[in-house]
């Protein structure tokens, strides 16, 4: 069973639908026992960092997620879930879970593309991955594969070892991060068509050891 962590951070049904479509059993839950007995967890979320951290603490899920990282169970972070695992977020000046060292930064308001064109914020739509590290969850990517992003902030790990892939939006930012049993994407694999489903499937079958 895969536990999809529910902490009042947006509609998680799309993640559930995609995982079920792939033929894996999953449950959207904030129940600590259910999470602890699951085989792996997905930590999604949309919304603001401050409210999300408050919910996690209120539900007692902050320590569960940290413990899961130590226990070695596979964890997939998505979007806000990916930002929350960092040490600190500029959004609402929020101290986060400190699983990965580094901060979550806002895209600069005057951000420009390489040809000098004005870029809009949030970064919304399909974009590619570069500098992809070898990883079982990222193993089936094709060269032109793109993923669906919606975000105004991005994770910025201090240790480049924690960066598993980058994306270009005026700046090159870390769009896939992780280490050991945790992998986290700034984009939404559940909304990213074939490559997204393939990434989710790889996560659901990933035997970290």
């Amino acid at each position: 069973m895969i536990a999809i962590i529910d902490y009042d951070a947006g509609n998680l049904a799309s993640v559930e639908r995609a995982v079920s479509y792939l033929g894996f059993k999953c449950i959207v839950t904030n129940d600590i026992k259910t999470i602890n007995s699951s085989e792996r967890i997905i930590f999604p979320g949309v919304g603001a960092a401050g409210a999300a951290m408050n919910s996690l603490k209120r539900l007692g899920l902050d320590s569960i997620i940290k413990q899961t990282v130590i226990d070695g169970k596979p964890i997939l972070g998505i979007c806000l879930g990916t930002q929350i695992i960092m040490k600190y977020s500029e959004e609402n000046e929020t101290p986060c879970l400190k699983i990965i060292d580094g901060s979550v930064k806002a895209f600069p308001p005057d951000i420009k593309s390489k040809d000098g064109g004005r870029l809009k914020i949030p970064h919304m739509g399909w974009n590619g991955l570069e500098n992809i590290k070898k990883h079982p969850v990222l193993s089936d990517l094709h060269e032109d594969d793109e993923f669906y992003f919606v975000h105004g902030y991005y994770p910025n790990p201090n240790d480049s070892e924690h960066i598993l892939g980058t994306t270009d939006y005026g700046i090159s930012f870390a769009s896939v991060i992780g280490f050991n049993n945790i992998i986290a994407t700034q984009f939404h694999p559940e909304k990213s068509g074939r490559p997204g489903l393939s990434l989710l499937k790889n996560f659901c079958m990933w035997n970290y050891s």
Binding site: N11, N127, H142, D168, S192
Partner: protein, 259 residues
């Protein structure tokens, strides 16, 4: 770099996809769930559904369509038409839509945008704008006026002013429909599109007038649009999404090539 999005638009009436010209004379063109699946496989980057069901009693049919679409495709899609309040938004989002689009209701009650953004997040809230060219005046300095009720009622509101206001209220995206161009297949309203897009910081989806791939190229470059809505040109099989993307790629427009 971010790709420009190509977004097929399906008008749904009582559970069936229809298509009209300038919002009139709609004909049945298919099952929306099957069409969604077809466009998903064909490389559409996102889909838009407009519920144009006339009677309130039959609105629930749309929720069922949304639910079945969400089980079938794994790209974002938005649903608009007849969204009047936060409860309508919630129903559509819980059924599986990524975004909800408000149009007439937001013109009449601006708060629906801020309330929706606060509860569901700005990324969920698309402002649909139906716009007609009326010529510049003191009341309408941009020359473009907001109309509602399918293009029948002039609201005396300047389109540019409304776009800027809606962004402040928390809209995450604008779907900009030119009533003058809608269904004509003569090309998008480039001047209107660039005017709005250059004056807001949220993405703008151009809508109305697409007839051939060249039109998309124009609106995504000169028109400064972030995405382009298409309907007739793909619904009748004149072009495929893939053909349109191949053309855009040849013009140097960044598009998603792999799906």
């Amino acid at each position: 770099m971010l790709s420009k999005r190509i977004i097929p638009c399906l008008d749904v009436r009582e559970g069936r996809t229809t298509k009209g010209i300038r919002f009139e004379n709609n004909v049945d063109i298919g099952n929306p769930v099957e069409m969604a699946s077809f466009y998903y496989e064909a490389g559409a980057d996102e889909l838009v559904f407009y519920d144009i069901t006339a009677s309130h009693e039959k609105r629930n049919i749309m929720i069922d369509v949304v639910r079945r679409v969400a089980e079938t495709i794994f790209i974002p899609f938005s649903v608009g038409g007849g969204i009047r309040d936060v409860d309508d938004m919630r129903n559509v989002l819980l059924a599986g839509a990524e975004k909800v689009s408000v149009n007439s209701a937001a013109v009449k009650n601006h708060k629906i945008i801020s309330q929706g953004a606060e509860i569901f997040g700005s990324q969920c809230i698309v402002l649909g704008m139906d716009v007609k060219h009326v010529g510049e005046s003191v009341k309408i300095p941009s020359g473009y006026e907001i109309v509602i009720n399918g293009g029948r009622k002039y609201m005396g509101i300047d389109a540019l002013k409304w776009a800027v206001e809606a962004q402040k209220l928390g809209a995450g995206e604008i779907c900009l429909n030119s009533i003058d161009a809608d269904g004509t297949q003569d090309g998008y309203e480039l001047k209107l599109t660039s005017l709005i897009s250059e004056n807001v910081s949220i993405p703008v989806i151009a809508s109305g007038g697409a007839g051939k791939p060249e039109h998309l190229c124009e609106v995504l470059t000169k028109g400064k649009a972030d995405a382009a809505l298409i309907a007739s040109m793909v619904h009748y099989g004149t072009y495929t999404v893939s053909e349109i993307k191949t053309y855009l790629d040849s013009c140097g427009v960044k598009i998603r090539k792999s799906w």
